[in-house]
Amino acid sequence: MAINWFKYSAPTTFYGLAGKMIPWFAFSAAILFAVGLYIGFFIAPMDAQQGEFYRIIFIHVPASMMSMFLYMVMAGYAALGLIFNTRLSAMMASAIAPTGALFTVVSLWTGALWGKPMWGTWWMWDARMTSELILLFLYLGFIALHASIDEPRRADRAAALLAIVGSVNVPIIYFSVKWWNTLHQGATIKFSGTSMHIAMQQAMFTMLAACWLYAIAVALARVRSIILERERNTVWIAELPEVKQ
């Protein structure tokens, strides 16, 4: 039996599907957050060099990874929308942007909180922090451009082009600790094994999965609102039970 993959690329069908999926993602995100924080704060041992302060890594690293990853996903959806002219892809791109910006802020914020006890300063103008800050500006530019164009179609396409142009920054952030010799420490998780204690790894990966699920749940909820807003004049929206009453 051939599955029709394109069935859910229409806002009409995706709206219902997203509504069914949100509780699952949201619920598992909540559980994983609880588990990850518990392991991170109570089970993982103290770090030899950084003492208790290192525990902020369990929020900082997942948030940073998500901030870069979500930008790539957003740019990918934007490109899909631009190439195939699908409405839903563009809606997904604009649904992801605020969450991505949020993770970028969390990453910068926790980085500052971590930097104060470790390096003695809230902020250093080194390559990784600067490029993460640029990433935040790129997210804000995307949101601002989208918001200032009234016609949704033009807004989608213009913002999509901007997202694609901006995506050159993401590899620069990722490799910045390798290319420049900076204050920021190198990557802790590598493909060739890590230098971490096993409980620390568990906490980190649980938190990463939790952030991931949270991002999906929030993006789906947001895309549902965008669909409702954009299609408010259509018949199928008027016939939805939650709209009808």
């Binding site: 500006f137 790129l138 804000l140 601002a144 213009a158 142009v165 901006g166």
Partner: protein
């Protein structure tokens, strides 16, 4: 069509835009005066200590050049957009990317080149050494065309929007940060006795990359904005 028609087209667009700019000389001068003024404000703001000014000079000059080029970007397509010329350009059988490249080149000659020529004078106000000034000029020569080219993408995307000017800066400035970093990095390198080759090579690489990609991206952005 003749073989050289692409180049003819490029020359034609550049010449047309230069003539138009010369008819409205005030616009060109405003950008330049803005540049000079912003740079001159810094010694007044931070105090006239020469050792500090010497250290700040490349950064101040580069940031001022960046801001000054933002000022003139709004005009890159807007006049042609308002009087319908841009629509005709898009209907023309010739490549839109080439037309856009011509407009970028003309924009650089009008708003970038004067800044480069003015920079040594301002650099002397900051007591920069001759060597550092030379590197600054080379960096600006490589870097300001990139600012015009990246800026054109933003100008095309924000064409005809209300509050376009501020939005344009918000979109373009983050993308211009690498140019700023390598441009000032080169001057700092020569001041501390290091080689400037790596910074200038990276600037050159950025220039080549923008030269290849930005005209096409800008053309796409214009098509999106003009639908």
């Amino acid at each position: 069509m003749k073989k050289s028609s692409m180049l003819d087209l490029l020359v034609l667009v550049i010449r047309r835009d230069l003539v138009l700019a010369m008819r409205r000389r005030a616009d060109v001068l405003t950008t330049l005066v803005f540049f000079v003024m912003v740079v001159s404000l810094f010694p007044l703001g931070v105090g006239p200590e020469l050792s500090m000014l010497r250290k700040m000079a490349p950064g101040v000059l580069w940031v001022a050049a960046l801001l000054a080029s933002m000022l003139s970007l709004g005009r890159l397509f807007s006049a042609d957009y308002l009087d319908g010329t841009l629509e005709q350009m898009m209907l023309a059988p010739q490549s839109l990317s080439m037309l856009v490249l011509g407009k970028m080149a003309a924009h650089w000659m009008v708003s970038g080149l004067p800044l480069v020529l003015m920079a040594p004078v301002l650099g002397l106000q900051f007591d920069m050494s001759v060597q550092a000034l030379g590197v600054l000029i080379v960096g600006l020569l490589l870097g300001t065309p990139i600012l015009s080219m990246i800026g054109a993408i933003g100008a095309a995307l924000t064409l005809g929007l209300r509050g376009g000017g501020v939005l344009l800066s918000l979109l373009v400035l983050p993308l211009c940060i690498p140019v700023l970093i390598f441009g000032t990095g080169a001057v700092e390198a020569i001041s501390s006795g290091l080689s400037v080759v790596s910074h200038l090579s990276l600037l050159g690489a950025l220039l080549v990359l923008s030269f290849v990609f930005t005209p096409w991206v800008t053309a796409q952005a214009l098509r999106i904005s003009m639908e």
